[in-house]
């Protein structure tokens, strides 16, 4: 598939996803009336629901999905491994430990999100410091350090879950599965997403070379060390922000980059913007389903991303093999 038409298609998908997310819910608003309600000409219940609840949540879903997919694409290049995902180096584990601790202490939502953010950034610095320790910053060392630190966080998470009082458990489990129920402030996510995308696009062609290995990239004129540092920082920042907003939503960051590579190849000048749009669209649809499928019961969105993504991905993989 040509990249440019796909980008348009994805943009359309995002827009229709937004429209559906805004119109569906306990109070259904026909798509035709969305605009007049949004522009706030009359202060009805519909416009209140839209502006206070659905729009922030829909934008947050888009931002989180976009951030995870972009982080996944970057992490795969950084580690030279198409199986890498944003969580592989322990960023989400650190965030989870922070968030769960805050929940155990009975902190409010905002504090939980902050604790997750600090946990993620702390884990990122820890992994970076340990991997960088000897001065050599090899891919293998970074990967091993990250995976081991992530395993450590996993143990602490299990510990926290096992000592947590009964009434805290559902909230903690929801957080671990990924849940946008508390995502009310999308501006931080959108800002981080936009800034990282703008900073990443100028080095997109260098990423194509780094994907062929560090030495090949260096030989063809890429300053590898600063580029890898930039990748690590931006992927970690994206992951930390996404996880702080929506918990550890799985699957998006692994599968969207893969899926796009199957569709349009590995030119990161197209892949980076395409992964933002595709990840955002996937999470928009998944979150709309998550809150409407068994309404008023809400599902954790992480369940839906996997349920939607797995068959889609397997289908494309089959088709790709035949082609």
């Amino acid at each position: 598939m040509r990249p440019l038409p796909l980008l348009f298609l994805l943009a359309l998908l995002v827009l229709s996803g937004l429209a559906i997310a805004l119109s569906l819910g306990s109070l259904s608003i026909p798509p035709g009336e969305l605009w007049s309600s949004l522009s706030g000409q009359h202060n009805t219940i519909a416009s209140e629901v839209l502006l206070e609840l659905r729009l922030p949540r829909a934008l947050a879903a888009f931002a989180v999905g976009g951030m995870l997919a972009l982080a996944g694409t970057q992490m795969q290049v950084l580690l030279g491994n198409p199986l890498a995902d944003p969580y592989i180096l322990g960023t989400s584990g650190g965030a989870a430990v922070g968030a769960l601790l805050a929940m155990l202490l009975g902190a409010a939502t905002l504090l939980v999100n902050l604790a997750a953010l600090f946990g993620a950034l702390g884990s990122m610095l820890l992994v970076f410091g340990l991997a960088h320790g000897g001065g050599v910053w090899s891919t293998t060392r970074l990967l091993l350090t990250g995976v081991v630190v992530a395993a450590g966080w996993g143990a602490i998470i299990s510990f926290l879950l096992s000592i947590a009082p009964q009434h805290n458990l559902p909230g903690m489990l929801f957080w671990l599965m990924g849940d946008l129920g508390n995502a009310t402030t999308p501006s931080l996510g959108l800002l981080v997403l936009l800034v990282v995308l703008l900073v990443s696009l100028p080095v997109a062609r260098s990423l194509n070379l780094l994907a062929r290995g560090e030495q090949q990239a260096a030989v063809l004129g890429v300053a590898v060390v600063p580029l890898r540092l930039q990748l690590y920082l931006s992927a970690s920042l994206l992951t930390a922000t996404a996880v702080a907003i929506g918990g550890s939503i799985g699957f998006v960051g692994l599968v969207i980059p893969h899926l796009l590579r199957l569709l349009i190849g590995s030119d990161h000048r197209w892949l980076l913007p395409a992964s933002v749009l595709a990840g955002g669209a996937l999470l928009l649809f998944a979150d709309t389903l998550a809150r409407t499928l068994f309404a008023p019961q809400q599902l954790p969105v992480g369940v839906l991303t996997a349920l939607m993504g797995v068959p889609l991905f397997l289908f494309l993989l089959q088709r790709g093999q035949r082609g």
Binding site: G213, Q216, G221, R261
Partner: protein, 254 residues
């Protein structure tokens, strides 16, 4: 001005000395062969010259400027390195791969243009890879990948080419094709340094050779004078004899 000057160059790996006080200058149009037993530092030498290996002392100048002062992009326009192995964990087409050679010539926001595509096409044509542009690299055979890597280097078009065992995986016809292309580059004024294992090929295609012994010692000189049975027997630690055939000296082991 020499394309490359190495003066009193000493390098090693993890504290193990490989080569001490090496001095050699590569002039435009010259083809150098590097020979030596396994682990004697041939690859490390090429990586040092390309600025990829930090463990060295001495002076290295690329077209008159000290290597340490040059950025990667500048180096990439002066020299190219055919790595011993290429690996492609991510899917990419032949066309994308060969065009990646243009990276150091393009500015940040520039995309590959007509000129770049023409160079890429010429390189693919030269390496007999035409018609494979849309193939996935992962579907190519080992020899085809090797030719693709060399075509990428031709597309990069640096005045100095470093080739690390360029003939790996190539059948006889394509070995000959690659070596003939190397001589063409030299005739056009480029310099070449290539690691080879076959002294007969070095004798035929290289003007000068550098023999690395791996313990710090090295020798260099014109191919015809250096590639003698005695010297090579001592270098590789096995009996090598020479025979005269069809007006040329051939070296073979017993």
């Amino acid at each position: 001005m020499s394309l490359l000057r190495a003066d009193n160059l000493t390098f090693g790996v993890n504290g193990r000395l490989l080569c001490k006080g090496l001095t050699f200058h590569v002039e435009a149009g010259e083809c150098w062969g590097v020979l030596g037993p396994n682990g004697s530092g041939k690859t490390t030498l090429l990586h040092t010259l390309a600025g990829l290996h930090p463990e060295w002392e001495g002076q290295l100048t690329l077209s008159g400027r000290p290597l340490q002062q040059l950025g990667r992009r500048h180096i990439a326009r002066q020299l190219g390195l055919l790595l011993q192995d290429s690996h492609d964990p991510f899917p990419a087409t032949v066309q994308e791969t060969v065009l990646s050679g243009r990276h150091p010539h393009l500015s940040r926001w520039q995309t590959e243009g007509e000129h770049d595509r023409r160079l890429a096409h010429k390189a693919l044509e030269r390496m007999q890879l035409c018609g494979m542009e849309q193939r996935q690299v992962q579907s190519l055979s080992g020899g085809e990948r090797r030719r693709l890597a060399f075509a990428t280097l031709l597309t990069q078009a640096p005045p100095l080419l470093l080739l690390d065992e360029p003939l790996n995986h190539l059948d006889l016809r394509h070995q000959q094709l690659l070596l003939a292309t190397v001589r063409e580059r030299c005739a056009a004024g480029d310099g070449v340094i290539m690691v080879l294992h076959d002294p007969n090929q070095a004798m035929r295609y290289c003007d000068r050779v550098l023999l690395l012994e791996g313990d710090g010692n090295w020798q260099q000189g014109a191919s015809r004078e250096m590639l003698t049975a005695d010297r090579l027997s001592a270098l590789y630690g096995c009996r090598i004899e020479s025979v005269e055939l069809a007006g040329r000296r051939w070296l073979h082991h017993l």
